[in-house]
Each structure stands twice: as structure tokens, then as C-alpha cells.
């Protein structure tokens, strides 16, 4: 059962929930609030300070989980596997560099969340296959980098990501992509990837 927790004076955090099964319904059920997803959570933010716990609990009670829409658009993203942490990551996975690259390119990834920084995608494997298990043992860096180069492709905690720009980051960097993930001049859709989109990585030639 999902946990409904007070989160500051205007928000509620719902933990232990599949956000994709409830996000759209909750937006409809609570039109006065803003709802935003985490990886395994949802935040509901009201326009005013108040005790909103009961309101969210009762809205949630009436909802049935909705099938998670599996696919949006498919993006094929070329990667130069030249990341600073490539060898270390392979070692952590008890694999060779080639094996790690094969695993990363064999997985069809799904955009689970756009968060942290503008256009930053959290990618999760669509299936729990061998390649996903191989990468799943690689955690985050003990000490995050202050500056990760733009376009870096990272892996951590069974997920993959692409850094849209230069920013701090704690994922193992395995490669570089030249894809433009965020265009602030495009106000209607600045982000290239959206929740639900699929991503395949391929070795750049």
C-alpha cells in the first residue's frame, strides 16, 4: 500500500507507488494541485499552505492502477564508448569492456523520469534480461563529479542516463553522445525525450 507523507507546507509525497500507473489519474482527481513523478513516487503540490494529507489519501483510495503505457517514440542514440569510468564499471560488473558495451546496446531502455536537471532522462531496462542484470550491480560513484561533460552517457543502480549539458553528476561515465536533449528556445517541447519513450544505444562508427 502506498505511503502518503506530508512534504513541506504545500506538498504531499506518495511513496511505494508505480508513478506511471497513477500520474494521469491523480492529475484528473486533484485538478487544483500539481502532480509530478519520481522513480517510485509522486509529489502532489497544492497552491496553498495546508494539511493536505487526508485529501490525497481519499483521492488515492478511489483510483485503480492504470496499465503503464509501454511505448512512446523510439530513439536510436549513437554512443562513443570512451567514458572515463568504462574500465572501472566493467570491473564492477565482473565483465570485460566489450561485454559491458554489448549489454548496454542490447537493452531497450524506457524513459522512466525526466528529472534532476533540464531534460535529464532516467532510463530503465524494459526487460529484466541478462544484460540488465550485468549492469544492475554497478552503483553510483562514492564521490560525485563537480562537472560532467555534456553528452556523457552514464550508468548507475541498474539505470542509464545522458547528461544534457555540463553539470555535477554521480553516475559512472561509459561514453559520449552528441544528441541534443534540451532546447530552451523551443518553449512547447524543450525536452527531446519524454516519460514513456524508448531508447536504444548503438556503437557510433
Amino acid at each position: 500500500m502506498a505511503k502518503v507523507l506530508r512534504y513541506g507546507e504545500q506538498s504531499i509525497l506518495i511513496e511505494e507507488i508505480d508513478p506511471n500507473q497513477y500520474l494521469k489519474q491523480l492529475i484528473k482527481a486533484l485538478p487544483e494541485a500539481k502532480v509530478r513523478a519520481g522513480l517510485e513516487s509522486l509529489i502532489v503540490t497544492f497552491p496553498e499552505t495546508g494539511d493536505h494529507v487526508a485529501k490525497v489519501e481519499s483521492a488515492l483510495k478511489d483510483l485503480q492502477p492504470e496499465a503503464d503505457e509501454a511505448s512512446g517514440k523510439l530513439f536510436i542514440i549513437p554512443v562513443e564508448y570512451n567514458g572515463e569510468d568504462l574500465a572501472v564499471a566493467a570491473e564492477l560488473a565482473d565483465a570485460g569492456v566489450e561485454q559491458l558495451i554489448s549489454a548496454h546496446t542490447a537493452i531497450t531502455w524506457k524513459v522512466k523520469l525526466i528529472g534532476f536537471a533540464p531534460g535529464f532522462p532516467y532510463l530503465v531496462p524494459t526487460e529484466d534480461m541478462e544484460p540488465a542484470k550485468l549492469l544492475g550491480v554497478i552503483g553510483r560513484l562514492a564521490v560525485p563529479r563537480r562537472q560532467v561533460p555534456a553528452g556523457s552517457v552514464g550508468i548507475a543502480a541498474g539505470m542509464s542516463c545522458i547528461y544534457p549539458d555540463v553539470m555535477p553528476g554521480g553516475w559512472h561515465l561509459i561514453g559520449t553522445s552528441s544528441i541534443a536533449l534540451f532546447d530552451a528556445t523551443n518553449k512547447d517541447q524543450p525536452n527531446l525525450l519524454s516519460i514513456g519513450d524508448l531508447v536504444r544505444f548503438e556503437v557510433a562508427n
Binding site: E9, L13, A117, P118
Partner: protein, 298 residues
Amino acid sequence: MTIKIVQTGITLLQDAGRFGFSEIGVPRSGAFDSYRYQLCCALVAGENIPAFEIFSGTFEITTDQDLVLAIVGPAQVLVDGKMSFSGQTLSVGNGQKLSVTPTGNGPAYLVITGLQVDMVLNSASNDSLSGLGPKHVRVGTEFNVITNIEDQRNVGSFIDAKTEADNFTFRYIPGPHEIAVSGVWKVFSTTRIGIRLESDNPTEPGSANLASFPVMPGCIQVPPSGQPVILGPDCGTTGGYRVAGVVIAADLHLLARLKPGMDLELRSVTIDEAKLAQARLSQLLAKAIIRPSGFGSW
């Protein structure tokens, strides 16, 4: 019709913030000391307009036209080398030089009526996490200014409100995670992304990190070290550390005035106390501007 930057100090462009894009990872940003910023806007009878947020050093401009502007926050203000004042609406003439040097804790704000800034995603804020925002403030950078004769009527307005704090108590709503953080902490470092605290008696952070979940300015994150970090306006939109509480909106602006080595107190409050604090702050802001006589109070 431009102003030109002669000296930058440590200065960023800010407005109220970049709202409505958090679901695609865009930080809120915006003026760190929102209280001083709002007073500064009010001095020129505006709101959510671009401001120079001057943290340290000297920010200096020249102008080729008459300007109406306001400065709020402890600072030395010089117009052509002559002492002028923070906390009021000034007029600076064609050919004159204006310099602002913060002298206390936290940034000073400079608002210039009619300053033209290229908005990025509906905001003039420079986001220090992602680099999103208008062109940076550099020596030689020029900005267009479009003034209006009506603006002159604000000259001589001043603020009747405190812009410095005597002590730093941050009231917070506890949760979502149960971690004890109330009490006195020392400030270890400060940026617009977050304020790192330290103590000889760190708290117990609880079990390992969580799957990334939405965070916001004011969140009191507790990393495995047990030394909390209070998130600032440029914080990322998601995080994986547990959150012991969220600083109430009425106290958030005080984060901007912290410096390494200072002591602060974290104090847990209820939703009702947060509401009351917000109401008091709004009341204070509403009464803070004294307009020059002859134009009524508006």
C-alpha cells in the same frame, strides 16, 4: 539606449524564478533572498522583473540615458563616486556611473526600470546548476533599457522594513522521512544549489538512499554522512537522499544570508505556524514601501 557593465563582482541575473517546468527537470532558480528582491521590485512599482543579484565584490555600470533604479540589501552605493543609498528608488543620469558593493550578509539587489533581458523559458534567472538562463553578466556586456517618463514618479520611495537578520532560525515542517535534525548546526559551505551543514554530532541518516524522488528548495536532505544539506533555489528537481523536513516559505530567503562558520538553528513547526509566518511576512511586505508625497499610496 544601453547600460554597460564595467565591473561584475559576483553577480547573476534573477527574477522570481522559472516555474512550470519542473516535470522536465528545470530548477526553480530565482532570487535567493526573495524578500529583498520583492522589496526591490516594489520600490519601482513592479513585480517579477529582472534584477542583478550581487553577492560580493563591486558591480558597476555606466549609462547613456537617465535611469530609474532601486537597490535593496546592505551595500555601499556610489553614483559617480558620491555616496548614495540602498533601500530607496534613485535616479541616475545619462553619463553617470553607478557602483554597488554588498557590505553585509547575503546579496544586494539592483533593479533597473525598463531593463531588457532575453527570457529563457519565461524567466530571466541564471540557473547555476544547468547554466540555463539569459546571457551572463560580464565586463563589457550591454543591456538595452527602455524607460518611460512615468517611472520617475517612483524616485524617492524608500523601504521601512528590516533587511538584515539578527539570528538564523529556520522553521521547518518535519518529514517525509523521520530523521532528527532540530537544533543548532554550523554552516560548512553555501551555494545557490545548497547549504551544507556540519556538527560534531551528526544525525542518524537511516537506511540507504532512495530511488530518486522530487525535491524542492528548502528540503533538508540527509546524506549518509549525517550532515544535512538545505537545498537552495538552483537545486535539481529530484534527489536520492532522505529528507528530514522542508524549511517553510517564510524563512527560505534567509538561506541567502548564511556564510560558512555561522551557526543556525533548525526548529520544527506545524502547518498552522507556517501559515501564520507566511501571513506575517506578506503583511510586512505590503506595508514596507513609503511612497514620495504627492503621489498617494499605491
